[in-house]
Amino acid sequence: MTAMRDTAGMADTAGMAPMLAAQNLSVRFAVPGTARWLRAVDDVSFTIGHGETLGVVGESGSGKSTIARAVLRLGPKAAGSVHFHGRDLLTLEGQELRAMREHLQIIFQDPLASLDPRMSVGEIIAEPLREFRPALDPASRRTQVLAMMDRVGLLPRHLNRYPHEFSGGQAQRIGIARALMLKPDLLVCDEPMSALDASIKSQIANLLKDLQQELQLSVLFIAHDLAAVRFSCERILVLYLGRVMEIGSRDTLFAAPRHPYTRALLDAVPIADPVLARAQRGEPLRGEIPSPLTPPSGCVFRTRCPLAEARCAAEVPELRRIEGSEVACHRA
């Protein structure tokens, strides 16, 4: 069953191994005061090809940030495997893990909260170099920092300023500069635009896309904003209550969503066109995402699914290939 899962990333790169391959990834948390475990991520497999951008979408509680943290080894120990540069990230420890971090970087949702308020912009952006290129002389370091600042749209005079002097959009540019300083192979973006105003959001989306193409970055892009994901990602994974509902190429997924949850998510996005918005007004998806402490039997989406039938409560649907997408639904 795992053999047929999500091979699109490999196919894209014609025989080359993917940049990242997660197999049967599961993350669980102990529930305080009980002997129970909460499954935040349940048997998730995906690949990210070289220079490919994979979007992970889902509502809060779907486990999308937990996947990002598991890949970066920031959360509790995950089960399964995450292959990167020929090694399983989940088994690395100490010096080996630290060495691997050079190639894995992250951009956070709240740019200001992710920057040390006591460090100047120059120090923040230079920190990865100090850490991983200790032999670099200060003059070369400064040259590299200034070049990166210029690339992300920061001015040389920002070098000695502090994070609190910047707006959210500018702070996100600082975070991007820091993340790209070591030219990582994989960039994890955790809701990189969702704290930004509309007029700034598109600036940052353009910048990230330019840099991704220029540096041929592989990107794991976590977001709840489907429009942003459509713009930024080539392939999309739809997550619900820790499980993969659907994986497919952007164009297939947006034009012909196969899973009822994908369809419901797309239908729920407000359309910024009053004529279309009023014409396409339908019955919204009922209910809310259930507690991961008591996930429904069978298909986890069935309690909200307009197509659910008896089989959905009894059998967990496996991912199967339907016209270019992979879908976990008995009714698809």
Binding site: A205, K209, A227, R230, F231, A255, A268, I271, D273, R281
Partner: protein, 332 residues
């Protein structure tokens, strides 16, 4: 300033309203010279980015801007609210003009049961008995489609999901049968499927009860879904106002046009790069002279920095605060 003729007298008439705070460098206006009407049963959308003054405008309608000086006029059914005594304000706010906040947890007391919080308003404003108030609370929970209303009355906020809490807040707002609901980003903290449910509910309640709604949001999609009429705010001023169809089809202010074009489409052609608005939203404590949008505007000319352009009629029911009279050619 002339107001477009209305068939019925407006419920709320805002005239040249300013909200001024005292800053280190002198006083500054977070709301500056806003003139706006709200008709009975109307769904008015107010859209703007952070710092545009949209929330401060809502707070001003309830006299809740702590530490600020209000100037101008707000008439509710002809009665002046600016400078009114607390006793007068208290007869209006909560009872006739109710407010829904972005985060339902801030509007709910974590220590009190849903039943106690729901009935507080009617017992205080209408002197209902405990039993009558309870009956009314059950009706309201039913009206906002909360399942098992009897059980919910005894529950506390933390026992409810985010969507359910916002429904309770809406029930609290409706229970005194107000004429006006002010909603400050009521769906921003919610997942997209739950947002669709809450927007559907607000629309339904407006149709069923005839309550007027003034909804503030940063999301043009939300505006397109629910609003009859729209006011666009920038740096404390209303820069354009029109019915929702006119505003999206024929925007006349460059800021409205740029905002509309920065929305990433969910279907159809996807641009390689997103149209952006250059620069950053201004700091209202340090506004440029003249039109505050001029430094970011693709159509700015010599007159723009001279004095803020007045909000003037371009057609019946359509007004803009902009000196540019030519055709906007989709400039970034």
């Amino acid at each position: 300033m002339s107001t477009p003729p209305m068939l019925v007298a407006p419920l709320l008439e805002i005239r040249d309203l300013s909200v001024t705070y005292r800053g280190d460098a002198g006083p500054f206006d977070v709301v500056a010279g806003v003139t706006l009407d709200l008709a009975p049963g109307e769904f008015l959308g107010v859209v703007g980015e952070s710092g545009s003054g949209k929330t401060q405008l809502l707070l001003a309608l309830l006299g809740l801007n702590a530490g600020a000086v209000l100037r101008g006029s707000i008439r509710y059914r002809g009665a002046e609210l600016v400078g009114a005594r607390a006793a007068t304000l208290n007869r209006v706010r909560g009872a006739k003009i109710a407010m829904i906040f972005q985060d339902p947890m801030t509007a709910l007391n974590p220590y009190l049961s849903i039943g106690t919080q729901l009935t507080e308003g009617v017992r205080h404003h209408q002197g209902l008995s405990r039993a009558a108030a309870r009956r009314r609370a059950l009706e309201m929970l039913d009206a906002v489609h909360i399942t098992e209303p009897e059980r919910r009355l005894g529950q506390h906020p933390h026992e409810l999901s985010g969507g359910m809490r916002q429904r309770v807040v809406i029930a609290m707002a409706l229970i005194t049968e107000p004429d006006i609901i002010l909603a400050d980003e009521p769906t921003t903290a919610l997942d997209v499927t739950v947002q669709a449910q809450i927007l559907t509910l607000l629309r339904e309640l407006r149709t069923r009860t005839g309550v007027a709604v003034m909804l503030v949001t940063h999301d043009l999609g939300v505006i397109a879904e629910v609003a009859d009429r729209v006011a666009v705010m920038y740096a404390g001023r209303v820069v354009e106002t029109a019915d929702v169809h006119t505003l999206f089809a024929h925007p006349r202010h460059p800021y409205t046009d740029a905002l509309r074009r920065s929305v990433i489409p969910l279907s159809g052609a996807l641009p390689a790069r997103l149209p952006t608005i250059g620069g950053l939203p201004p700091n209202v404590a340090m506004l440029p002279p003249g039109c505050a949008f001029a430094p970011r505007c693709a159509y700015a000319f010599a007159r723009c920095p001279t004095a803020p352009p007045p909000l003037s009629a371009v057609a019946a029911g359509h007004r803009k605060a902009c000196y540019f009279e030519g055709t906007m050619a989709g400039r970034p």
